[in-house]
């Protein structure tokens, strides 16, 4: 905990689409920022500092903090860009939290955005890998995920039907979210019949490419209760990285998520995460991760992830609903994706999630994931942290 406790007081999102030819990047950002300011009942003049982020190379604009001020409202304000690949959206949330928790800024606007439609994302993502070793023999985002799924299936006997069940869940949930890009229910058979991209990952197992933006406004404990009646308190954040080379990874288990979750639970005194956490917005870019990573989070024992998913526990109305928004499989404007998880978790805590609302949310978790198997995690709470 920093000098000040921090609450999220408002969130905003665009209606995410595969292409947004009607707006440029700044204009897209402005839509999310306007929506968040409206939600928090503030004007841009109330904002003390801005954190913005998107993926390196995706739009080929590498001074986004400056270039985006028309849309971000950053004219003559402190503004900083953070970019950490897939975790960018969660990193900017954690960065915004740090700025407010430090006591240096009262109200901070956090913005994640992406116009995925503007480039070849595989070429850009490949730059995350070491140029001398891994990059020459490995490329893009899906290959690493496929390797993870293969290793897990071999270790714990999961099947492609288990993966498909997660995709069915998220795509069903997405129908409740007007902001999601893909809002169409599918069956297990649909998933298994879709084209194989990289064994064992089918087309309907993975996320799309999306144009979209998200904005979140954070305020410190001195002003937050005066500004909003519904608050989402940030209890703890965590960030973990593991490897330099792809061979360093413990494939089939996500060590960064195991570590990040234990740090969060320790800070908040959580003993039984499946009972104490009401909802998770998981940055889950493909279906099998929905089985593997809940084991790493300690929601279920090792090898029991699939059984828990099939029981319906993570569906709406279940013991621990995961991705009421439809998650990343339904919508993935990458630089915004992690922040959308944070915003959706905040909406759940604030009771603003409309028809995708989970009842009586006390604790929510949002996560961020990067292609190099790293993890960000945020614990959101309805009550003000008592530490």
């Amino acid at each position: 905990m920093g000098k000040k406790r921090v609450a999220i007081i408002g969130t905003g999102q665009t209606y995410h689409k595969s292409h947004r030819p009607d707006v440029n990047g700044q204009e897209l950002i402005h839509e999310a920022v306007s929506s968040a300011l409206c939600d928090a009942d503030l004007t841009i003049a109330d904002i003390d500092a801005i954190v913005i982020g998107n993926m390196d190379h995706f739009e080929g604009i590498n001074y986004v903090d400056c270039w985006s001020v028309d849309g971000s409202g950053g004219v003559m304000k402190p503004i900083i860009k953070l970019t950490t690949g897939g975790t960018t959206g969660s990193t900017i949330a954690i960065g915004g939290y740090h700025l407010v928790a430090s006591g240096l800024f009262e109200k901070v606007l956090v913005i994640g955005w992406e116009k995925n439609s503007e480039s070849d994302t595989t070429g850009a993502i490949t730059t995350a890998f070491d140029p001398v070793w891994d990059r020459l023999v490995f490329a893009g985002a899906i290959s690493g995920l496929a390797v993870e799924a293969q290793a897990y299936m071999a270790r714990y006997g999961a099947t492609d039907r288990d993966g498909a069940r997660v995709s069915v869940r998220d795509r069903k949930h997405a129908c409740n979210n007007p902001h999601a890009q893909l809002r169409k229910e599918v069956t297990i058979e649909d998933v298994l019949a879709s084209p194989m991209l990289a064994d064992p990952i089918h087309l309907l197992d993975v996320c799309p490419r999306t144009d979209g933006a998200c904005a979140v406004i954070m305020a410190n404990e001195d002003v937050a209760p005066k500004l909003a009646s519904k608050l989402d308190w940030i209890w703890a954040t965590s960030s973990r990285h593991k490897y330099t080379y792809i061979g360093d990874v413990n494939w089939g288990e996500l060590d960064s998520m195991y570590n990040a979750s234990r740090e969060i639970y320790k800070k908040a005194g959580i003993k039984e995460p499946n009972k104490e956490i009401s909802v998770i917005e998981l940055y889950q870019p493909y279906s099998f991760a929905g089985i593997i990573w809940i084991e790493d989070m300690g929601i279920v024992p090792r090898g029991k992830g699939a059984e828990y998913i099939w029981s319906g526990a993570t569906d709406m109305g279940g013991e621990l609903p995961i991705n009421p928004s439809g998650g990343v499989i339904a919508c993935n404007p990458i630089g915004a994706t992690g922040l959308i998880r944070c915003a959706e978790a905040a909406m759940q805590v604030m009771g603003k999630a409309d028809i995708r609302q989970v009842p009586d949310v006390n604790f929510a978790i949002s996560t961020g994931f990067g292609g190099c198997m790293w993890t960000d995690m945020i614990l959101h709470g309805q009550k003000k942290p008592d530490f």
């Binding site: 402005h30 190379h57 080929g60 028309d70 480039s119 070429g123 850009a124 730059t127 140029p131």
Partner: protein
């Protein structure tokens, strides 16, 4: 200094990434380029609140943080705010040196438009001089549909 590299024969790996882009201009910029191409008109947006006129046109006034709604047609003439003369031929230059870059504030606008200046000797160029847009005959809906600005005699 060279001694520390004495026994080293480093391998070097050359590579490149290929990331082709297609940037959406958006509805606001597209209107500007369509008018430029089809009607040789230079259009700006005017903020309802502070009345600033923007060229390039902006959907959002960055100072008022409001969407600009009103379109205004601007003159194809204006004054030179500042300039530089590029003397060294670099690969990124589309013309032969000396190349003159100028910031031109069109009559009726509040912002400067970056463009080339031509039909003038470098020694004769002065801040504050009046300039006029020279449109190309073949236009493609790009900012280069204005070939350059030239002095008004």
């Amino acid at each position: 200094m060279t001694d520390i590299f004495k026994d080293i024969e480093p391998m070097v790996y050359k590579s490149q990434i290929n990331v082709p882009y297609s940037w959406w201009a958006g509805k606001t910029a597209s209107k500007f380029f369509t008018e430029l191409k089809e009607n040789k008109k230079i259009m700006g947006t005017k903020c309802d609140k502070c009345s600033k006129v923007y060229v390039p046109p902006r959907k959002i006034c960055p100072f008022c943080f409001k969407e600009n709604q009103a379109w205004v047609e601007l003159s194809d003439e204006g004054i030179l705010l500042s300039y530089t003369i590029v003397r060294k031929q670099l690969a990124s230059l589309p013309k032969k040196v000396p190349v003159i870059y100028g910031l031109i504030k069109l009559d009726g606008a509040d912002t400067g438009l970056l463009h080339f200046i031509d039909e003038v000797l470098p020694k004769d160029i002065k801040i504050g001089m009046r300039l006029k847009a020279c449109f190309l005959e073949e236009r493609a809906g790009k900012i280069q549909d204005i070939g350059y600005f030239k002095p008004i005699n």
